[in-house]
Symmetry: C2
Subunit: 204 residues, 2 copies
Amino acid sequence: MPTVGIQTIDEDRLDEDKTLMTKTTHHSAGEECGICFARPDFPLVPPLNFAMVATGVYRSGHPNKQNFSFLRKLGLKTIMYFAMEDYPPEMKHFVEHEAIEVMHFRMEGNKEPFVEVNKDDISLALVKLLDERSHPVLIHCLKGKHRIGCLVGCLRKIQRWSMTCIFDEYRKFAGTKVLADQEFIETFDHESVPYDPLHQPVWL
Amino acid sequence: MPTVGIQTIDEDRLDEDKTLMTKTTHHSAGEECGICFARPDFPLVPPLNFAMVATGVYRSGHPNKQNFSFLRKLGLKTIMYFAMEDYPPEMKHFVEHEAIEVMHFRMEGNKEPFVEVNKDDISLALVKLLDERSHPVLIHCLKGKHRIGCLVGCLRKIQRWSMTCIFDEYRKFAGTKVLADQEFIETFDHESVPYDPLHQPVWL
């Protein structure tokens, strides 16, 4: 029976700590659950700004109760969550029930002119994202626009996409307001991301 | 050695003609080719409005020469093309060279108030799209906005997505201008699409 956990990735844990994968709480999967119970007569509601990034990788805003039956169909193994806020109780319950490992990156979005997305967090997240052993994975922040837009933009650089196409994709979700995100993507040193070529996804 | 072909799906061929799969032209795959030659020092350029729809299904506008090295990485088996226009010579050459089967649906987009997307074309296309034997598949029209937006919207209905999320996705690519597309999606009878449950993708 798999166990699950929510782990917080703080800056002081960025020293390539191998215990990042440690699962800190657990709960048996497979029980009936009032919260996660799917209603076959209802439409499936994807989370805000949901989309597929690549095989095994999905992006969105913060899921809520309405999205649980949709999420369950994805068969997620991992969630990577980028925001300062803790999960609300029903989201905690859902991930425990579904035996999904959660990596919580306590990270602020770009707020011009002073607050910047943390490059080390993005680099660490990309290493995890490019390890197919964590797929299928959902990456989400609050609205699925800015922090996730930065992360996906940096992933696209590793995939060698042209900047025109990277920005076009970014703007489909986030609009044109936050130039700092596009600057972050443009200046991010994607060649120094230490992902493991042994476990990289086939689409890389 | 696989052979390839470009087949045109006209309305008079909609009588469940099993020869739709027949490959009509061929060309050896694997030869060196001036047109398709990838340049490792260049960025990869996805086609206009490129995105992943589901595992094994991609959407975009009409690819051009710049996009060939990107497309090659997708390992496409099938392309479904929705427009009145024939492929230009370099696109014909590319699909032949890569042994990609092309289904050409000669279809007009919604043009208010008189021209409507053909429901039978969409239904036939969905049957093909929901057969995992044709994956990986790229669906494209000219700009990747309206015809493909209709098709994806109808696919989402089969996937039981809420209309709110279907329209939100549609508008990310197409904007809000063509209401007729959203009406088409809303009124499309998705339950009558005769896809084959034996070969449906796992994500359905």
